[in-house]
């Protein structure tokens, strides 16, 4: 078949009712944008809890805290925890969050003793250097994701409320959630807090050698600290991440359902538009069939028209979602767990496939009907 001829017909047919075409494309774009946003948040959530070290990391918080910032543990307890059999390292962490409820665009500081940091966590510097960080009391290492979001570079100052840090390095981490953090010196965060909490930290990150003993060691830690100033609640990091993000998961489940409903609604919209467009042209199609166009060829033309609309809408919707994600750089924070939107090439391909499928499904029935209708009857209607 002559492609140029088909392509021209397709273009002219879509331009026939510009308003209708534009509205259909916009409808598809809106649905696909929603689909991509919801799915990339879901992917981001999966990524956030996927850290490879989370199985052999325990997190110790004050019992009954309702937010990381209301957890106060005596820093000196780190020494006692470190003595427990099976514990490899203990990292006291002071957490500062811009907002401890579920919110978009959370800023999270972790204050840690600089001398312990590099043994306890994997910090792969991609810019800046370790020495500068160690030298300056107000120096900070910024996770790559956060640096990108805020456009931070080595040498920049970053200020949030009363906390001001100098960016000494930017790092990657095998733990995706840590790439959203600002890691700085423990004293800096302690000094910015209340005076009577000076010797306290928010949590202990405990590395253990055998993940299978996680539960036992957690129980041992809680027993050990039961008599101290603040009773503790120790959990495996994986379990902590799961429970912290449980509500978000629930919302996302609903969101996904909602996204699917939207795609279905749009499918109905496109189907209706295509059906209308085909009905209008049934006589014209009969004329083309009389000229010798095969039914299959006309069917392909109609399917191609519908798919072109759907794909254009899908591309615009995906682009809109991408622009939203990259320009607003939203990060959803729940209880200090930061979840970014992860728009992967695979998700883009899925969105394209969804749009294409919608286009095909929408056009299949009207196109089939139009090309199977008896020509004389169709000519009469023209």
């Amino acid at each position: 078949m002559n492609l140029r001829g088909s392509f021209r017909l397709m273009r002219r047919n879509l331009a026939r009712r510009p308003a209708r075409t534009v509205l259909t494309v916009a409808g598809v774009a809106a649905a696909i944008a929603l689909f991509v946003l919801v799915e990339s948040l879901a992917a981001g959530l999966d990524r956030a809890v996927s850290g490879s070290e989370s199985a052999r990391t325990l997190v110790v918080y004050q019992k009954n805290r309702y937010c990381p910032q209301t957890s106060f543990l005596s820093q000196s307890e780190a020494v006692r925890i470190a003595k427990i059999d099976g514990v490899e390292s203990v990292l006291p962490v002071k957490v500062f969050l811009s907002n401890c409820r579920t919110s978009l665009d959370t800023v999270a500081f972790h204050g840690v003793p600089a001398d312990l940091l590099f043994d306890a966590r994997r910090i792969d510097l991609i810019a800046g250097d370790r020495a500068t960080f160690l030298q300056r009391g107000d120096a900070a290492l910024v996770g790559e994701a956060f640096a990108q979001r805020r456009g931070l570079d080595v040498g920049d100052a970053f200020r949030f409320n009363r906390i001001e840090v100098q960016v000494a390095g930017i790092f990657r981490s095998p733990e995706p959630i840590e790439e959203n953090l600002i890691v700085t010196h423990l004293e800096l965060l302690q000094r910015s807090g209340a005076v009577n909490k000076l010797g306290t930290v928010t949590e202990f990150e405990v590395k253990i050698s055998d993940p299978a003993r996680g539960r036992a060691i957690a129980a041992e830690i809680d027993a050990l600290l039961a008599t101290s100033a603040a009773a503790t609640d120790t959990r495996a990091k994986a379990a902590f991440l799961e429970s912290a993000t449980a509500d978000l998961r629930e919302i996302l489940r609903f969101g996904r359902l909602f996204g699917i409903c939207c795609v279905a609604a749009v499918l109905a919209l496109v189907a209706n538009t295509v059906a209308m467009a085909v009905r209008e042209r049934i006589g014209e199609l009969a004329v083309m069939r009389t000229l010798g166009w095969r039914d299959g060829r006309l069917m392909r033309l109609l399917l191609a028209e519908s798919c072109a609309l759907a794909l254009l809408g899908g591309a615009l919707g995906t682009a809109a979602a991408w622009i939203t994600i990259t320009t607003t750089r939203l990060t959803l924070g729940v209880e200090g767990v930061l979840v970014g939107f992860a728009l992967s090439p695979r998700l883009v391909a899925t969105a394209g496939a969804v749009a294409l499928l919608a286009g095909l499904l929408a056009a299949a029935l009207p196109a089939w009907k139009a090309t199977r209708a008896p020509i004389p009857a169709a000519l009469r209607g023209a």
Binding site: L9, E284, M288, T290, G292, D295, I375, L379
Partner: protein
């Protein structure tokens, strides 16, 4: 040589309890190169007969043989290919595609053949010149008069150079002058290019251009004149 042969063709339509039989056991032979005129009152089945000849409507009974081929036995796909190659159809209403220009409308059937762009351009230009509308190539159907639209439709019917032209009241909606130019064109196609033409008309003046006149009434054909 017989080009079109209908034998024992019956076609009926059912509307509720009533059955209309516009073609009742009709047999007819049309020779190659004939300018065949089909006359008959409105609703007598003239368009139905053309549909059968074009293979866009199958007979209920009987054979339709065109150019030695029994087209009623062809499947939809091959029948479409056969139509593209053998039949030029001028509709009772011109039926141009509104979103395409005159040129593009005429080019439409050529996309079904493996032709180069240059060859297509040559043929479309030729067909449009034949109907005297090469200066209107870029006009859309809505920018043309009724007579011009009908002439574009004729150009579309002849552009692929089919041996059989079926014209359903090609002058029905035209004024005298436009009608004359369309008839002149058909006569020329018949004389100069040896086309076999089957034309339906109510107009005695148009009918006079043909080499043979046949009347269709109550399902039967009656030979009127032969030149």
């Amino acid at each position: 040589m017989a080009f079109v042969e209908l034998s024992g063709v019956t076609k009926s339509f059912h509307k509720g309890a009533t059955t209309i039989t516009p073609l009742d056991d009709v047999s007819l032979t049309i020779e190659q190169g004939e300018f065949f005129v089909l006359l008959g009152p409105s609703g007598s089945g003239k368009t139905t007969l053309l549909h059968l000849l074009a293979g866009i409507d199958p007979p209920d009974r009987g054979q339709v043989v065109v150019g030695g081929k029994d087209i009623a036995t062809l499947r939809a796909g091959p029948l479409a290919d056969w139509r593209a190659e053998h039949v030029g159809y001028v509709f009772q209403q011109h039926h141009l595609v509104p979103v395409l220009t005159a040129w593009e409308n005429v080019e439409l059937p050529l996309f079904l053949f493996p032709l180069s762009t240059a060859e297509r351009t040559k043929r479309v230009g030729f067909a449009l010149r034949a109907v005297g509308l090469d200066d209107r190539a870029d006009h859309y159907p809505r920018q043309l008069s009724g007579g011009q639209e009908q002439r574009v439709a004729i150009a579309r019917a002849i552009v692929a150079d089919p041996p059989l032209l079926l014209a359903d009241e090609p002058t029905g909606n035209l004024d005298h002058d436009s009608a004359q130019s369309v008839l002149d064109l058909l006569a020329r196609l018949h004389h100069e290019r040896g086309k076999t033409i089957v034309m339906v008309t109510h107009d005695p003046n148009a009918a006079a251009r043909g080499t043979r006149m046949v009347h269709l009434d109550k399902g039967r054909l009656h030979e009127e004149a032969r030149r």
